[in-house]
């Protein structure tokens, strides 16, 4: 079995052990959970070490055949199973997910109750997310997506604050809807790639007869569709499938106006769940857009480019303005993340190397920074008992280190150079201006607004006269330094030396751009 298979399996094994081994104490649950995530991270790092930079194909491939649906369509069998692999698009996200999962596990407070359930669902969610990013066929993708969905649902529901039940159901309904839309779009694409929708161009009949077989295999589908999706669909069918996919992405990724689940979820979830959701779970939609939108229907991305770019800019500005109005740090971070991801849409719509690579950078960067912000504001809330910005203030005196790192996280989020935020922003905007200059001119206003809402929040949180009630509060504990320092280091590493992940994207981005043969 390939390396990547074990990346997904490791947290799954941990989850099963936590559940079935009787008589474990809290410490053992925690140890098993951390072990599962740590194993996934080590294996992911190993996959990185062995990564072949000279190819854009999937690597470390594992295929597990499960069953075959015989003669499903025109005497063609459909093979169902699990297959995993990584390429330049997925490996950085796998690394991100593994890092965040382990750090969230470390970050979980010692006072945590119900550790068995907590680490069980945590590891299950991790396995699901890792599965989403490593899936090489549609079945695996959808299955992993569902796994991450209900695992996260339980994390929100069981470990959130009062009121988290509603938030959890909102989360479940929205992301469930997104899954249904993905299912419809992706099965439709597979059906079409097997010739199911006929064609408008008789001279391409040869291509279709050559393809013919029904398959869920993503590399095969990409080969078949990427360069010649026109041959397999009527323009109408193509557009309908793409728009279903896009709608799924918008819901999954919490894009305006399908976003209200995200601030609610973050407001009521506990810190570590927020790290996991904000850090990686909200990157799956954008990943699907790149993998299936740009990967399978690049012509449609181009055709609907203006729509996607406008949606992107709406999200950048809407998210930023909404963040400015928030009183709760967690809602502010949620809207900030929506604003960031708007830039991903702009980059993808641009459909050039800088735009796509910027989008990939932004997904990783936003993941790291969102997780870091949630962790730090969570640590502050543990001490001050509030995440409400107007109730904070003067925290630099009792907790200079936490305040300092919070400032670094805020500066990274507002795209300060030498952080990952800047590298992402400039590439995405180079892409955006290259294709849609007018729309991008509006989008850059977001750069000002991000400084406004983040520095406003900083001014009210760490600056100002020390408050009497906060004077005795302790600064970061050694346990808290681990996620803080690791996440900050990654943010700075990517900012100072972006090639460290940029080289991973390179060929895969090039491969996505080769349209029309």
């Amino acid at each position: 079995m390939g390396l990547v298979f074990w990346i997904v399996l490791a947290p799954l094994i941990a989850a099963v052990l936590i559940l079935v081994v009787p008589g474990l104490r809290a410490g053992a649950h925690r140890a098993l959970g951390l072990l599962g995530s740590a194993a996934a991270l080590v294996l992911a790092l190993a996959a990185w070490g062995r990564f072949q930079y000279a190819t854009s194909a999937y690597q470390e491939v594992s295929r597990l055949h499960w069953f075959t649906l015989p003669a499903l369509w025109q005497q063609s069998d459909l093979s169902i199973g699990l297959s995993f692999g990584v390429d330049g698009l997925s490996l950085p996200l796998v690394l991100l997910a593994a890092f965040i999962s382990l750090l969230a596990g470390v970050a979980a407070p010692r006072t945590l109750q119900r550790t068995r359930l907590y680490y069980f669902w945590m590891e299950l969610a991790t396995a699901g997310i890792l599965g989403v990013f490593t899936a090489m066929d549609l079945f695996t993708f959808l299955l992993a997506l569902e796994l991450s969905l209900f695992a996260a649902f339980f994390l929100i529901h069981l470990f959130g604050e009062a009121g988290s039940r509603k938030a959890a159901f909102k989360f479940l309904l929205y992301r469930g809807l997104a899954s249904v839309l993905f299912l419809a779009a992706l099965v439709g694409l597979a059906y079409g790639a097997a010739g199911g929708f006929g064609t408008t161009q008789p001279d391409t009949q040869g291509i279709i007869n050559g393809a013919g077989a029904l398959t869920f295999d993503i590399p095969t589908l990409t080969d078949t569709l990427h360069k010649a999706s026109e041959a397999f669909f009527t323009p109408h069918a193509r557009s309908v499938l793409f728009l279903i996919l896009l709608l799924g992405v918008l819901v999954e990724e919490a894009f305006v106006p399908f976003h209200t689940w995200l601030p609610t979820t973050h407001e009521f979830s506990d810190t570590t769940t927020n790290m996991l959701i904000g850090g990686v779970l909200t990157k799956t939609g954008a990943y699907a857009l790149l993998r299936f939108g740009v990967g399978l229907l690049p012509g449609e991305v181009r055709h609907w480019g203006v729509l996607i770019a406008v949606l992107g800019v709406i999200n950048i500005l809407y998210g930023a303005f909404a963040a400015w109005a928030q009183k709760d740090w967690r809602r502010l971070i949620a809207f900030g993340s929506i604003s960031h991801m708007g830039l991903v849409l702009l980059g993808v719509a641009a459909l050039n190397a800088a735009g796509l690579q910027g989008a990939m950078f932004m997904m990783v960067s936003s993941g790291l920074l969102t997780a870091l912000l949630f962790f730090l504001t969570g640590a502050i809330k543990e001490r001050t008992q509030t995440a409400l910005i107007p109730s904070l203030g003067g925290l630099s005196r009792p907790m200079p280190m936490l305040s300092g790192f919070l400032l670094v996280a805020a500066l990274g989020s507002l795209g300060l150079p030498l952080t990952s935020g800047f590298v992402s922003e400039i590439q995405a905007f180079i892409g955006g201006f290259g294709t849609y200059p007018a729309i991008s001119f509006v989008g850059v206003i977001g750069i000002i607004l991000s400084a406004v809402y983040l520095l406003y929040a900083m001014e009210k949180t760490t600056f100002g006269p020390a408050r009497q009630s906060y004077t005795g509060l302790a600064d970061a504990t050694p346990r808290e330094y681990v996620p803080t320092v690791v996440l900050t280091a990654l943010v700075l590493l990517i900012g100072v030396y972006p090639s460290v992940i940029g080289d991973l994207f390179g060929l895969s981005v090039q491969a996505l751009l080769r349209i029309g043969g």
Partner: protein, 634 residues
């Protein structure tokens, strides 16, 4: 020597990392000592680089390294040395060394003393790295980094609400400018395929800068103006100047280094570095000239009436930066850079001397000062040197550079700008001597404070003396007596067609500007030294005009009403829409579904017969639909 120029920014970076490792409780002596020694070493290397660039006319470098691959492009970082940035390296490292030394005395006893030095070293590194950048991308990176350091240092006394507000304001207002620069750089990259200065300028000169939606000429103008917008923010030009006076909330050495001598001059440096681009666009140059001229006059008028010693000098900085921009705008490239250099010396001097006064009296209000000459002779004399240089009195440094700028404005046919400059020069001489007389002459207005006033230790006085010497003789780098040495040096970078060494000295103009300066000093003396004119009476009789100046033309209030209030209103509207309309619809849908669910639960009777009947009915409908759609059987 040039190939070792990278050592210049590296040394302060080493100091920064070293202090970071030492931590927040390191002893003051070691902290300041390491910083001063390493920055001084950087200055010595800069001086060697400056000399060797002058000796070898052939430009070497740029030296670049791969940073990131984007598609088929390679983004690079590295360094280059030109005549312009060699001069900047010297100025920045010299003033930095002196300010680092001065801070040892000024910040003594502050509980975050080591942190202060960390930030300062980070700033010095960023500023030097900005100057030495071989391309626009790296320039932008460090452009933002110096902005960050400014933010950290303005807000250094984070517990003061005014400092926290000022820090935020400075970052956000300059960021408005930065977005212009950001966009300009991106457009130039898209059009030329490179961030390198030389590649971009060559493409522009060859009329090859065009994008699908914009022609070469329009793109050059657009990009130049966008870059200038960045400079307007950083160099505190009208209309984005409002952050700089507030930035005076930072410790005074910070005001001297960042908000007078170096960072705020980065905008002027940027325009100078991109001069080949600006020269291709008369519209852009004229924008630069007019914004510069307006800023020079506006800020000088505001400085007339301010009560806070640092704010007067801050408005003076804005005004002088306006002169520099005006110089560049009317084509006097070398004069703009020359004034940047002399201004760095005498403005750092004025701030440090003001710092010395504030340190002694613990107030910034001019009307709580007075009579300090007797107690602080050295500060008074050095301040006087700086004031004379600023007022443009022969032979002090400011005279040579400012006079050149005024002459160039007239020469190039910008008569209105010349008049602006001349009025501003009068105001300049008046406001700075108003400060001088109110601070050092007459009787102490606050005897209690005056009681304890005394001169600082040598770490504070030595920088004052060095800067006073430079403010006095610094102008001689570029006079007829040395054959306009600086101009010839700078013109080796050859921005063609700029006004410079060819301009003959116009003695009449020189005399006029000195007379204007003396008139300003004279008026100040009559009002504040040997009171022949009552300032209060004059203020009352001027009425609204006085208020206009004192209230800074109400620009802060206008911006608040227009920009900030609008932004907050939009944010509030978005928040309302989000909570009550978008999420309201969501809740409505949820409620409808829930209601339907409530209704439907009565169909769950648990009776198999009922389910089967429903199922059979459903199958019937499906079969009917299928048959109908297949062949119209029914």
């Amino acid at each position: 020597m040039v190939e070792y120029a990278w050592l210049v920014p590296l040394l302060p970076l080493v100091a920064y990392v070293f202090l970071l490792v030492l931590g927040r409780r390191a002893p003051e002596g070691i902290v300041a000592g390491v910083s001063v020694v390493l920055t001084f070493a950087a200055f010595l290397i800069s001086a060697l680089v400056f000399r060797s660039v002058g000796q070898s006319p052939d430009q070497t470098g740029p030296y670049v390294f791969h940073w990131l691959t984007v598609g088929t492009h390679s983004f690079t970082v590295g360094f280059e040395v030109t005549h312009l940035n060699a001069l900047m390296l010297v100025v920045v490292s010299l003033v930095s060394t002196l300010v680092l030394l001065f801070s040892k005395g000024y910040m003594h006893g502050d509980e975050r003393f080591p942190v202060f030095y960390q930030y300062l070293n980070l700033f010095v590194f960023s500023m030097l790295a900005l100057v030495i950048s071989p391309n626009l991308l790296q320039l932008y990176i460090f452009w933002e980094m110096v902005g960050l350091c400014s933010y950290l240092l303005v807000g250094f006394w984070y517990f003061k609400p005014e400092a926290a507000l000022a820090a935020k304001k400075s970052f956000i207002v300059t960021r408005i400018g930065d977005v212009g620069l950001f966009t300009g750089i991106i457009l130039l990259f898209l059009a030329s395929g490179s961030f390198d200065y030389s590649t971009v300028f060559t493409a522009a000169a060859a009329h090859k800068l065009s994008l699908g939606w914009i022609s070469n000429d329009h793109l050059v103008t657009l990009a130049a103006i966008l870059i200038f917008v960045g400079a307007v923010g950083k160099s505190a030009q009208f209309p984005l100047h409002v952050w700089l006076p507030d930035a005076m909330e930072g410790p005074t050495p910070v005001s001297a280094l960042i908000h007078a001598a170096t960072m705020v001059a980065a905008g002027v440096y940027l325009v100078a570095r991109c001069y080949p681009l600006f020269q291709l666009s008369p519209a852009a140059l004229s924008t630069v000239a007019w914004i510069g001229g307006i800023t020079a006059l506006l800020a000088a008028l505001i400085a007339l009436t301010q009560r806070d010693i640092k704010r007067v000098i801050a408005y003076s900085t804005i005004s002088q930066l306006g002169y520099m921009m005006m110089a560049l705008g009317v084509g006097a490239y070398a004069y703009g850079v020359f004034h940047l250099m002399t201004h760095a010396f005498f403005k750092a001097l004025l701030f440090l001397a003001a710092g010395s006064v504030i340190h002694a009296l613990d107030t910034q209000d001019l009307f709580e000062m007075g009579g300090l000459y007797k107690k602080m002779k050295l500060t008074a004399w050095t301040f006087l040197a700086g004031a004379l240089a600023l007022a443009g009195i022969v032979p002090f440094a400011g005279f040579w550079s400012k006079d050149d700028i005024l002459a160039a404005a007239l020469e190039s046919g910008h008569t209105v700008l010349y008049v602006f400059g001349l009025i501003a020069a009068f105001c300049t001489a008046f406001y700075i001597f108003r400060v001088y007389f109110l601070t050092f002459t007459g009787q102490p207005r606050d005897p209690a404070r005056h009681e304890h006033a005394h001169e600082g230790s040598w770490v504070m006085t030595l920088p004052l003396v060095v800067l006073a010497v430079l403010a006095t003789i610094g102008g001689f780098f570029n006079t007829p007596f040395n054959g306009y040495g600086l101009e010839r040096y700078l013109f080796a970078d050859s921005p063609q067609g700029a006004i410079g060494a060819t301009t003959p000295e116009n003695v009449g103009l020189m005399v006029l500007s000195v007379l204007v300066g003396l008139a300003g000093i004279g008026l100040a003396a009559l009002m504040y030294w040997r009171p022949a004119i009552q300032p209060e009476k004059l203020a009352r009789s001027l009425g609204f005009l006085y208020q206009l100046s004192f209230r800074k033309f109400y620009l802060d209030e206008i911006y608040y009403a227009i920009v900030v209030a609008t932004g907050k209103a939009i944010a509030a509207i978005v928040d309302f829409v989000d909570r009550y309309i978008i999420d309201g619809i969501v809740r409505l849908v949820a409620r409808i579904v829930a209601t339907i669910g409530l209704g439907l639960k009565y169909t769950q009777t648990g009776q198999i017969q009922a389910y089967t009947a429903v199922a059979a009915f459903g199958v019937l409908i499906l079969v009917a639909w299928a048959m109908w759609s297949i062949g119209g059987v029914l």
